[in-house]
Amino acid sequence: MSTNIALPSLTIESIRDGLRRKEFSATELAQAALAFAEKENSKTNAFLTFSQERALRSAARVDDDIARGLDLPPLAGVPLAVKDVIVTRGLRTTCASRILEHYVPPYDATAVVRLEAEGAVIIGKTNCDEFAMGSSNENSAFGPVRNPKALDRVPGGSSGGSAAAVAQGTAVLSLGSDTGGSIRQPASFCGVVGVTPTYGRVSRFGLVAFASSLDHIGPFARTVEDAATVLKIIAGRDELDSTSAFAPVDDYHAAMKHPVEGLKIGLPKEYFEGLGSETGSVIGRAIEQLKKLGCVVREISLPHTKYALSCYYIVATAEASSNLARYDGVRYSSRTDGSTLIDVYRKTRGHGFGAEVKRRIMLGTYVLSAGYYDAYYRKAQQVRNLIARDFTNAFAEVDAIVAPVSPFTAFKIGEKVDDPLAMYLSDVYTLTGDLSGVPCMSVPCGESAEGLPIGLQIFARHFDESTMFRLAYNYERSVKS
């Protein structure tokens, strides 16, 4: 049987080797991953739904290919977890919200289609903040996720379940979504690799919209190489998403193996002011390491960073207020009956949405209202352009930008729930990536004294994921060996 498969240390490559050498079958691996995930779930609550049937079906196909001596696709048999804001055909997709508690989509997201076509085995849907709104995963209607590295702490959010699943070893890969930092911050908190690709790089078709102009799908993995493999598969133009880019997808693996000697790295001074001393010194050591690898490091400025938070909470909430209008109880969402139409709307949405979602809908409705649009939404769009220009200017001088992911490490569950503003500050270093649309990622770079993971954030030029992966890969290899 499969109980001796060392799940937490598996990678795409080691699974491939294991399958080839017949150390385990894809079915055994899927069973082991499902059993482990179910067992761990009582501790972390990382999964909302397990997809036993679908996983075994995918695994059987891989085993069949092996039996017939066919070439294995790149993700053959690899256990994958999918954030529950990404739709899966026939598999419940709740967005961690009461309002979609029983919703079963009739179609698959493009990213899911592409990964399954390459042999990935979806073992389940992961917990997250409701509609991806939050930084701690405490906004889930189905209970918070606990950080596998410290069970009394949050895994970060909103893709907390996807980060936790990869960190605890129940999944080798997972998909998350990032609108303001929802992949990088939990990756940093849980000690895994998390990638937010360039806006338009990965199709959003099937990603339940929070803020359409900021939403990204991206991978979590335990190694840079695995994250790059996933991105390579899900990236590229999709006819079903008009905002997906035609830009060609590079060979990330070839690119990342080039040395980084001479690579020009910028350190934005705004990201190091007010940084916790512990995080600061871990990041400082990582930067020293980059210098040792031959990177040319210099201080730069992204002067409009201080406006990112207010800009973000206008743009994101405005779009959210519109995107979440469809949950009205008329078609697929849970309905609470009422005496009039407006009463049905009020009750359905009143019962169905959690506090943070309501807060953002109200904020977004307000900033789009007649008489306020110019002062808020239009102004925020102008600020957004300035933030994007900061990056363009910086990338005229440097090849990559390095910064912390979060000002602090994983905090205790309950610590910030009553203080939305303190919670929003968790994302202060990650928002600019989404607002500007540049690719960015978190790569593990050390731990606090308490053993809490800390991530290093890397930004690169639009569609230049290759340089981002190259820096991350070289760094990762240099600290592992």
Binding site: G206, S212, T243, E319, L341, A370
Partner: protein, 462 residues
């Protein structure tokens, strides 16, 4: 007060000011943002997919055909096509609006600054077209016809995502008749272009009106009311007449017109207040982030322009010029594209436009009307009618006989010459043949000839 033609004294003192917002359903094969078919009368909720159902995670993709039809319409309306336009979300809650917003265009529409010419009793008049923009249609709420309709409304989303253009006019119309002519012109134009079938019963052409009145000579417009639900030409005229009289009576009795949306009630012939300015929706428009801006290149524009057919106004002028028709006849013959095509095919065969026009407008249309048949399905092919006119021209057929043959052509679908041959109805103008026939007749009737000669009197026909 009833919706009758406006009283003279009302119009002597007050001037109505009317602008129309016309929605035209584009004749595309698919919906505007997904590949579902557009079809009328399919079983409820069968022409739907994740996109037009507004399912979580679905995204719109703009139909190229819809854009091309919209551009064709805008070109025909003599608009400037913006090289860069943008979609926007119009947010409001309604059960048949599955996304919770309509995807429309707002501050950057597809086309602007156009015009339509209409014929009025005092000649041609230019009605400005403010803008033409694209949008998706909502589904349909069905409030009755089910056994639990007293408690439930049913929703059919087959129509959700049907492509529409909205044509917004300037407030340039000064009477219900002008509004009627304007809408007629739009309908004809759209049908000519193949942009829309404009079947009002199927909701393919819908109209709202902005109406105000002012004292003649007053420099400023009065406060306007928006009248909705004007879904036939007759209702448009009746509703406008009613609304103008209502506003005039209100002002005359010392009241004030309030800015509001009013609904025309077909049963009572009256308009009823629906919501005031204060209750008006705040649609919270903002740019649609799921669609990239629409760019129309010069090249694409020229390509579409080169495919545009001749429009009614141009064709009308050409008919007068080329065939020497009267303006009225030219207008009748260009009412639909099919009529114009029929006439031209027939005229080409006959070589006589004017006479052909008389036959099409008179006898043929009479026959078609009596049988309830559209000219496109006429049992008499245009070439046959042309042949008939040609035969008259050559003197082979008298006008009187032609009028007898035409119904036979209508019944049988045969050509006039075929019918004449079969029934021996050919008019003979060849003297030699005629003399031979006369000789034969005389030879066959010697007795009568004898009598006639003896009497030296003409024979009576009896």
């Amino acid at each position: 007060m009833s919706a009758t033609a406006l009283a003279e004294n009302v119009l002597a003192k007050y001037e109505p000011v009317i602008g129309l917002e016309v929605h035209v359903q584009l004749a595309t094969k698919t919906k505007i943002f997904c590949s579902c078919a557009v079809e009328f009368g399919a079983p409820p909720n069968t022409l739907v997919c994740p996109v037009c159902l507004g399912l979580p995670g679905a995204l719109p993709v703009l139909s190229r055909q819809a854009v091309e039809l919209a551009i064709s319409a805008a070109l025909a309306l003599r608009c400037h096509i913006n090289p860069f336009s943008r979609f926007a979300r119009k947010n409001y809650f309604y059960p048949d609006l599955p996304k919770g917003y309509q995807i429309s265009q707002y501050d950057q529409p597809l086309a602007e600054h156009g015009a339509v010419n209409i014929l009025t009793p005092s000649g041609h008049k230019r009605i400005g077209v403010t803008r033409v923009h694209m949008e998706d249609d909502a589904g349909k709420s069905i409030h009755d016809g089910f056994k639990d309709s007293d408690r439930y409304t049913y929703v059919d989303l087959n129509r959700s995502g049907t492509p529409l253009i909205e044509i917004v006019s300037e407030p340039d119309m000064r009477s219900p008749d002008e509004a009627y002519s304007y809408l007629t012109e739009i309908k004809q134009m759209m049908q000519y272009l193949g942009v829309s079938d404009c079947d009002m019963e199927k909701g393919q052409l819908r109209c709202d009106a902005n109406v105000s009145v002012r004292l003649r000579g007053a420099p400023k417009f009065g406060t306007k009311a928006e009248v909705k639900n004007l879904n036939s030409f007759r209702f448009l005229k009746m509703a406008l007449e009613y609304e103008i009289e209502r506003q005039v009576e209100l002002i005359e009795s010392g009241g004030k017109v309030v800015q509001e949306t009013r609904l025309y009630n077909v049963e009572t012939g009256k308009t009823v207040g629906m919501r005031s300015k204060e209750q008006a929706h705040d649609y919270r428009y903002f740019p649609e982030p799921d669609l990239v801006p629409l760019r129309v290149s010069e090249h694409w524009l020229h390509e579409i322009q080169s495919r545009l057919p001749e429009l009614p106004a141009g064709r009308r002028e050409r008919f007068v010029r080329q065939y020497g028709l009267r303006e009225y006849d030219a207008e009748v013959l260009t009412l639909t594209r099919a009529t114009g095509d029929y006439f031209e095919t027939a005229a080409k065969v006959s070589g006589d436009g004017k006479t052909t026009a008389n036959w099409v407008i008179g006898d043929l249309m009479g026959l078609l009307k009596a049988a309830g048949i559209d000219i496109a399905q006429s049992p008499i092919p245009a070439a046959h009618l042309g042949e008939l006119v040609a035969l008259i021209g050559k003197g082979e057929l008298s006008g009187k006989l032609a009028k007898e043959i035409l119904p036979r052509m209508f019944e049988t679908g045969d050509s006039p010459s075929a019918i004449m041959d079969r029934e021996g109805l050919r008019q003979i103008s060849d003297t030699a043949s005629l003399e031979k026939i006369i000789a034969d007749v005389l030879a066959a009737n010697p007795k009568q000839v004898e009598q006639l000669r003896a009497a030296k009197q003409p024979c009576s026909a009896s």
